[in-house]
């Protein structure tokens, strides 16, 4: 019998090239037409410390990092002790027998990767030895790995050929070791290669690429995990006349700089994590008040305060939607997959320009750095909105009342319609005022504008059901995996998903309000999204987890099933 998917995990210490190994295997599989998803976890430090990196290889698109591990590569005793418990029934562990030894008789075997690598003449090929062993265990054809090796090491340098040969040899040596043990975890079914063009990318890179495709021209940021890779990406790629990517001195400088740039006419963006978001509170309130387009990406991690810098959590929702004092409610877009990250970034830029204000894009640690092979976006058909710029005579009233239709255009410095973009309450031309009528009409203007943001993608399935599950953001994939499992078991459960959390598409809100129970799986303690839904008159309830790690599909499925039957059980007994 053949398997739909396998999870291979490399565990050891940070700095041992765990990520490289997982990526190599992932890319080999992707090249072969499989769907892959990688996932890494490591402490907030530079070297050492327990870390692991895994890849899930499947014949269909991967929705989560899975439940169990089929092949565990444990580079030290601690890693073995901590991860072997995750092994599936017929899972096998491979350990570095030059590092430590294990008693006879378990479903594991040792391998001296470094030694074997040296024997190929290339000591750096150790991870290829291991990958060879892994490939053998899942009956993954070595030739497909060779393809990857050729791609990776063909760099137009004299030594290329030798390196390629050594690595290919290393794979064979590893495979032989595994072969001799007689272990096998099964056989990966042949791939169903997608009929569309693919890219292999991480969530943060997808966000960056989406923003660039939507025309972002101004990016500033201050380093912070897990958002730093967006800063680095922009520094590398946002180059050219009229463009700027820059590291500033703090998040307070970041937010105010994008306010200045947005005011001056640029599509401006910054990215941060929770602590930075908290520091941006006042500046976000300014952008809302003065009506300045800009995008803030919040790549969530564990909180509060410095919290858990390299862990998974979705606990910044309250802070993202209501970041500042006063009456403020920011648009929030929370992509639920690596692919959505690209489109969410483009939508965020478009929304900022359309409603002339700040937009929050929420991602999350594990979605930020995990790699996936996804459908390559069609840049030609991407909707990109440009700012409506005021071109009339002077004396324009930028802050006049507004109720419907396209928003009044924005004057730009250097052009006509000079006004004051003002963080104090103001009159039509932006001069400070304390008159009630201005505060009334502009408060209403600031909130009414949100109605312009009505085009975010959403999913309503089995809408006739009384009970639905509604994940948000990075928990979408795992919730979907659980949902499909439960549906295939015939559970009465509907599916609701919206990439935008504020404003919610009217159809979604309308459907939710009809439900008897809306189950929200989310990675926080307070059940933040279900709480916000209850604010909107929805009977929502959360299934929470606050471990710093993502949900496991099977755990989540059973928790949902339990809650549903409890609910419907009651119904019957009524």
């Amino acid at each position: 019998m053949q398997n739909r998917d396998f999870v291979i995990r490399f565990a050891g210490e940070g700095g041992q090239g765990l990520v490289t190994s997982a990526d190599a295997l992932a890319r080999s599989a992707a090249l072969a037409g499989y769907y892959v998803q990688t996932f890494s976890t490591f402490p907030s430090q530079i070297m050492g410390g327990p870390a692991s990196s895994q890849v899930r290889i499947s014949t269909s698109p991967v929705l989560s990092s899975g439940d169990e591990v089929d092949v565990l590569v444990a580079l030290n005793q601690y890693a073995f002790d901590n991860h072997s418990g995750d092994l599936s029934e017929n899972g096998v562990a491979v350990y570095d027998s030059s590092e430590y030894d294990l008693p006879e008789g378990g479903k594991y075997f040792g391998i001296k990767a470094d030694e074997l690598a040296r024997s190929t003449g290339n000591a750096r090929a150790a991870n290829m030895v291991v990958i060879g062993a892994v490939a053998n265990l899942i009956n993954f054809s070595l030739e497909q790995i060779d393809g990857f090796i050729r791609e990776r090491f063909t760099r137009g340098r004299p030594g290329d050929a030798a390196i390629i040969e050594a690595n290919i040899k290393a794979v064979r040596l590893g495979a032989e070791v595994a072969e001799t043990t007689g272990f096998s975890v099964g056989e990966l079914a042949p791939p169903n290669p997608p009929d569309y063009k693919q890219i292999m990318i991480t969530g943060n890179a997808a966000i960056s690429l989406g923003a660039l495709a939507a025309g972002v021209e101004f990016y500033v940021g201050y380093p912070i995990s897990p958002a730093t890779t967006i800063l680095v990406w922009m520094e590398t790629n946002l180059i050219g006349p009229g463009k700027l990517a820059y590291q500033v001195s703090s998040e307070i400088e970041s937010i105010n700089a994008v306010v200045g740039a947005g005011y001056a006419g640029k599509k401006a963006m910054t990215a941060t994590a929770g602590p930075g978001l908290s520091l941006m509170s006042e500046g976000l309130g300014l952008a809302w008040m003065a009506e300045i387009p800009l995008v803030v990406v919040n790549v969530q991690r564990g909180g509060p305060a410095t919290g858990l810098p390299t862990k998974s959590e979705q606990s910044d929702l309250f802070a993202s939607m209501h970041p500042a004092h006063g009456d403020v409610r920011l648009p929030v877009i929370a992509p639920g997959s690596v692919e959505e990250c690209f489109y969410a970034a483009a939508l965020a830029i478009n929304w900022a320009e359309r409603y002339q204000g700040p937009v929050i894009l929420m991602s999350e640690f594990q979605q930020a750095e995990r790699g996936e092979n996804i459908r390559a976006p069609d840049l030609g058909n991407l909707n990109v909105e440009e700012r409506r710029v005021y071109t009339g005579a002077n004396g324009f009233k930028r802050y006049e009342s507004w109720t419907e239709g396209e928003l009044t255009p924005m004057p730009l410095p250097g052009g006509p319609g000079a006004y004051v973009a003002n963080g104090s309450e103001h009159d039509e031309i932006g001069d400070t005022t304390h008159l009630p009528r201005h505060h009334i009409r502009l408060t209403e203007r600031r909130f009414r504008k949100l109605e312009l943001l009505d085009d975010s993608p959403y999913e309503l399935e089995d809408d006739e059901m009384d009970v639905v599950v509604m994940p948000w953001g990075s928990s979408k994939g795992v919730a979907r995996e659980a949902y499909e499992a439960l549906r295939s078991e015939g559970l009465e459960l509907g599916w609701v998903y919206s990439m935008a959390l504020n404003p919610l598409p009217a159809a979604v809100l309308e459907s939710l309000r009809r439900k008897r129970l809306v189950i929200v799986p989310e990675l926080n303690f307070q059940g933040q999204w279900s709480a916000l839904l209850r604010m909107e008159g929805v009977r929502a309830e959360s299934i929470t987890q606050y471990t710093g790690t993502p949900f496991r599909p099977s755990d989540l499925a059973s928790r949902i099933a339990a809650r549903v039957s409890q609910e419907l059980g009651e119904k019957v007994s009524v």
């Binding site: 292999m200 790629n237 050219g240 001195s249 306010v259 200045g260």
Partner: protein, 287 residues
């Protein structure tokens, strides 16, 4: 009262130094715009929060663009404006509390970048708008509403700080000399780089320092302010440093240095490094 808005309800107290600074700023902006024949709308005023910051709503005649944000953030806002649109003449107006206390963190970075903006800092040694608390330039021992028993923190010397931080144009002036002040502001705007015009602008209500600055024979007050001698070489760092060691408050151009601005350096990168089109970047992820 600003002609633009009959209802605009902010007023400075009679005798407030900010009146003179406003006049000077208006003159400088007019001079500059006619000199370069650029539209008046090329001027952007980024204002701090304080009595001084309200200047952005009080300028008369043709109106510049304005950005009146939050307390202490004029520099990051101006950084955004300037690096988004280097062709704009970006001017900051702020008080000593806004610029030197809560906003102090932002001066160093702009100096290290030599960001090409001009700051007009109205120093009255007090928090005016909040009714008279001590500011960084309030003297040790001075009694204010927030230091009823005397301030127990030594005073900051902004000009020295600007020198050390590497500000490339440092001017010091006085609100009662609007003509000269206007000339200095205009020169500062012409300077390619980070320029600060530090203005003594007394607060008649909470810290009336007119006598202290000008001196007052009758009351036998010497007068702290003195004109920088004509032979001072503002291009000499050493000369500037020595100048600032002298007691009192020097009025005039303290220091001026030519150095590439942040956008000069950014342009250098733009020319040296060819940015890839998004299609090409996308392709680099293809499998």
């Amino acid at each position: 009262m600003n002609a633009r808005n009959a209802e605009y309800d902010f007023k400075w107290c009679p005798g407030c130094g900010d009146f003179g600074v406003r006049r000077a700023l208006e003159w400088a902006l007019e001079a500059r715009t006619s000199k370069y024949e650029v539209p008046f709308s090329n001027n952007v005023i980024v204002a701090g929060i304080g009595c001084s910051g309200n200047m952005v709503h009080l300028t008369e005649g043709e109106q510049p663009f304005g950005l009146h944000g939050i307390h202490g953030r004029t520099l990051p806002l101006a950084f955004g404006v300037k690096m988004a649109r280097p062709e704009l003449n970006t001017v900051i107006v702020a008080g000593d509390g806004d610029f030197l206390s809560i906003g102090a963190e932002h001066i160093g970075p702009q100096a290290q970048r030599n960001l090409d903006v001009t700051c007009v800092v109205m120093d009255n040694g007090v928090y005016g708008l909040t009714k008279g608390q001590s500011s960084p330039t309030t003297e040790l021992g001075q009694v204010t509403s927030s230091t009823p028993h005397g301030k127990i923190e030594t005073q900051m010397f902004p000009l020295k700080l600007f020198m050390t931080m590497g500000v490339t144009y440092i001017g010091s002036h006085y609100s009662s000399k609007p003509r000269q002040l206007a000339a200095m502001i205009e020169e500062a705007m012409d300077h390619r780089g980070f320029s600060i015009v530090h203005v003594q602008s007394p607060c008649t209500t909470y810290n009336d320092t007119y006598d202290l600055l000008k001196g007052n024979r009758r009351k036998g007050i010497p007068g702290l302010a003195w004109d920088i001698p004509a032979d001072h070489d503002p291009t000499s760092r050493q000369a500037a440093v020595d100048l600032l060691e002298r007691p009192g408050i020097p009025l005039g151009l303290v220091y001026k240095e030519e150095m590439p601005t942040l956008d000069d350096r950014q342009n250098e990168i733009t020319e040296r490094v060819k940015g890839k089109p998004v299609e090409e970047i996308l392709e680099s992820y293809a499998i």
